[in-house]
């Protein structure tokens, strides 16, 4: 029983990170109907920016206690990653996706694949991030606590707290701010939103930026838990997060969160049972969910008007 709970806990840890990526996917999809395959690579860039920030700050002491110092440094690295990713994704949107907004949808999708390949291979060049695996320095002491027989690490607490705060922040932005309202309106009906005086282009850029900020934070959290940074690290988490978003019903924010937790738990459970099959299990669950509910768990079935 303890074993099951422990796996559940590890799965939720992974699920929180997937949720941060999945929300970016689902928001962008909701607003421009684009599967932004480059999102996983933005997540990778976030991890690298976090790594370089931490390395640059390695000798800096912000607070006396090593714990507080570690947390502050980590937050700085995360903020740097979020800012860099926001800038990157907004630029990508302006250059690569915006000109194709009225083209067939597949054209933007192919461009997204192109952007994804570009980010992966460009950052593999020696003068950018380089092709090697890098070990991410742990920002926190390797402390674990025993609670009711479960081992909880400092990183797990950090991930849970930071991810929860970010998700609450996102919820606040989308529900209670003016730009959030504009996002919802644009996702619902772009033309009507424009007629109501909403700056659609700005709203779309903001959505890309917001999604990228979450992905950047997710990147730093991910490598804090699984400390290997490399330029192709974004592909599989990106794909899993996207799958989670589809499973939850793409375009739905709570759906992306629930889907991400399911994916995380499923992956960790499958790995602990039969490691070589783990990747397959998550996608088997996806297909089964879609067969029962073709528009995802929280997705609305689209009624086709004839």
């Amino acid at each position: 029983m303890t074993y099951v709970l422990q796996q559940l806990l590890n799965g939720i840890q992974l699920g929180f990170v997937y949720a941060l990526i999945a929300l970016g996917y689902t928001m962008v999809y909701g607003i421009v109907r684009l599967i932004n395959f480059a999102h996983g690579d933005v997540f990778m860039v976030g991890a690298f920016v976090g790594y370089f920030t931490l390395r640059a700050l390695a000798r800096v002491t912000l607070a006396g206690a090593s714990w507080l110092n570690g947390i502050l440094l980590f937050l700085l690295a995360m903020l740097a990653a979020m800012a860099a990713c926001t800038l990157l994704n907004v630029t990508i949107e302006r250059i690569a996706y915006k000109p194709l907004r009225n083209a067939p949808r597949i054209a933007a999708l192919i461009t997204a694949i192109g952007v994804s390949l570009f980010l992966e291979y460009f950052s593999s060049l020696k003068f950018v991030f380089g092709p090697n695996y890098i070990t991410f320095p742990s920002p926190l002491p390797a402390q674990t606590w025993e609670v009711a027989g479960l081992r909880i690490s400092a990183i797990q607490v950090l991930i849970a707290v930071v991810a929860t705060l970010l998700l609450l922040g996102l919820n606040y932005i989308i529900r209670y701010t003016k730009i959030g309202k504009a996002m919802r309106a644009t996702a619902f009906d772009r033309d009507a939103a424009r007629l109501m005086g909403i700056n659609v282009d700005l709203t779309i850029s903001f959505t890309f930026g917001l999604g990228a900020a979450l992905a950047g934070a997710g990147g730093v959290l991910y490598v804090s838990a699984y400390p290997r940074v490399h330029t192709f690290m974004g592909i599989i988490p990106g794909l899993k997060a996207f799958t989670a978003a589809v499973m939850g019903g793409i375009g739905s924010l709570p759906g992306a969160f629930v889907g991400a937790l399911i994916m995380g738990v499923a992956e960790v459970t499958a790995k602990s049972l039969y490691s070589t099959m783990a990747d397959g299990v998550a996608f088997l669950i996806l297909i089964l969910v879609l067969l029962v509910k073709p528009s995802g768990i929280f997705g609305r079935a689209e009624v086709e008007k004839v």
Binding site: Y29, R33, I35, A96, P99, L100, N102, A103, P104, R105, I106, A107, A108, I110, T111, I113, G114, V115, S116, L117, F118, E120, Y121, F122, S124, L125, P131, I235, L239, F242, T243, V246, I250, T276, M277, D279, G280, F283, L284, L286, I287, L290, L291, P294, S295, G296, E304, V306
Partner: protein, 339 residues
């Protein structure tokens, strides 16, 4: 579907060209590396034509093509492993690979083709990953495949290029005859508007399944050729990332255009290999930086693909044969729906 050959004269010329090229490879006028490249062109185009039938003709956004190619490749490799690579056993292997891929496509398609648009895409992509995981674990059932270590010991049959080239011609003719036949028109009508097609009495489920099974058999056939060209199979060769390659080719060529697929597929391999030639060794890693830039530039300047939906004159039916043909040449819809 009536059997028609677009032009006998051209076919004879192409056959002669293929034979000459094979002779040049055989006499080592063309070195082994470039022989691989031209053979791979044929393979890439066959596989892409398959996706063209699924996505270009019937508008089903399927992202599991590499998996079906892998199924064909492993099946064909296993068959020649036990039966040898005489021409007739090689033919059996290729047909076996195509049939298995088609059969699996049929089984998978029954439930999965109900999904629409991006949901279908992600489900087929997921299927592709499951198949890759199965390849990685396949050595527990069939030790010869060696699972994640990669399958070796595949023998090379004679005249592999000629096989690939002839099968490519056959694949083009079949796709072309399908395109301008009654079932082909049914597929196009599903792509344009599934609901309308259904209301006009097109058996949507049946035709979608036909397109999916036929397209995946193309992938299986291409896989069989791939196995006997490169003589080494690894699960990562059939990863989901590889499913994007035929998708790129089909979209770059123009959705639903056979001409476009052939040109784009050939050009795609040529550009990737050409960059290897052009770039000096120390900046070779720029190859995959330049390639996506070209891809993005191409999509930004010509979002409808090289040929749009049009076909080269040679592949179009003569007026007397198909009076309805001009009405089909509709442009891809721009209203944000999957064309």
């Amino acid at each position: 579907m009536k059997w028609k050959v677009p032009s006998w004269g051209l076919l004879v010329i192409l056959l002669a060209a293929g034979a000459v090229l094979q002779l040049a490879i055989h006499l080592e006028v063309i070195n082994a590396y470039w022989a691989l490249v031209v053979t791979y062109m044929c393979i890439a185009v066959i596989s892409s034509l398959g996706l063209g039938i699924i996505y270009g003709f019937s508008g089903q956004f399927a992202l599991g093509h590499a998996a079906f190619m892998g199924l064909g490749a492993y099946t064909a490799a296993l068959i020649t492993r036990y039966m040898g690579v005489a021409p007739w056993t090689f033919a059996i292997a290729l047909v076996g690979g195509a049939l298995l891929a088609g059969g699996v496509a049929w089984l998978v398609g029954l439930p999965i083709l109900r999904l629409r648009s991006d949901y279908l895409g992600i489900a087929t992509l997921g299927f592709g990953i499951i198949v890759r995981v199965l390849f990685e674990n396949s050595d527990k059932v069939i030790p010869v495949t060696a699972g994640a270590r990669g399958m070796t010991g595949i023998e090379q049959p004679d005249f592999v290029f000629l096989w690939a080239f002839l099968l490519l011609l056959g694949a083009i003719i079949v796709a072309r005859n399908l395109r301008f036949s009654s079932p082909g028109r049914a597929l196009l009508s599903i792509r344009e508007d599934e609901t309308a097609a259904n209301l006009m009495g097109v058996d949507v489920v049946r035709y979608k399944t036909i397109a999916f099974v036929l397209g995946c058999s193309y992938a299986g056939l291409a896989g069989g050729l791939y196995a006997h060209t490169f003589l080494f199979l690894h699960p990562s060769n059939f990863d989901f990332i590889k499913s994007f390659d035929p998708l790129l080719i089909v979209v770059l060529g123009g959705l639903g255009s056979i001409t476009g697929t052939v040109v784009a597929g050939t050009a795609w391999v040529a550009v990737l290999e050409g960059l290897r030639l052009v770039l000096p060794g120390e900046v070779l890693e720029w190859r995959y930086v330049i390639y996506p830039v070209l891809l993005i530039a191409m999509m930004l300047t010509r979002p409808q693909g090289l040929f749009g939906t049009s076909e080269a004159a040679i592949l179009r039916p003569r007026e007397a044969e198909a009076p309805a043909a001009p009405a089909l040449a509709t442009e891809v819809t721009a209203d944000g729906t999957h064309p």
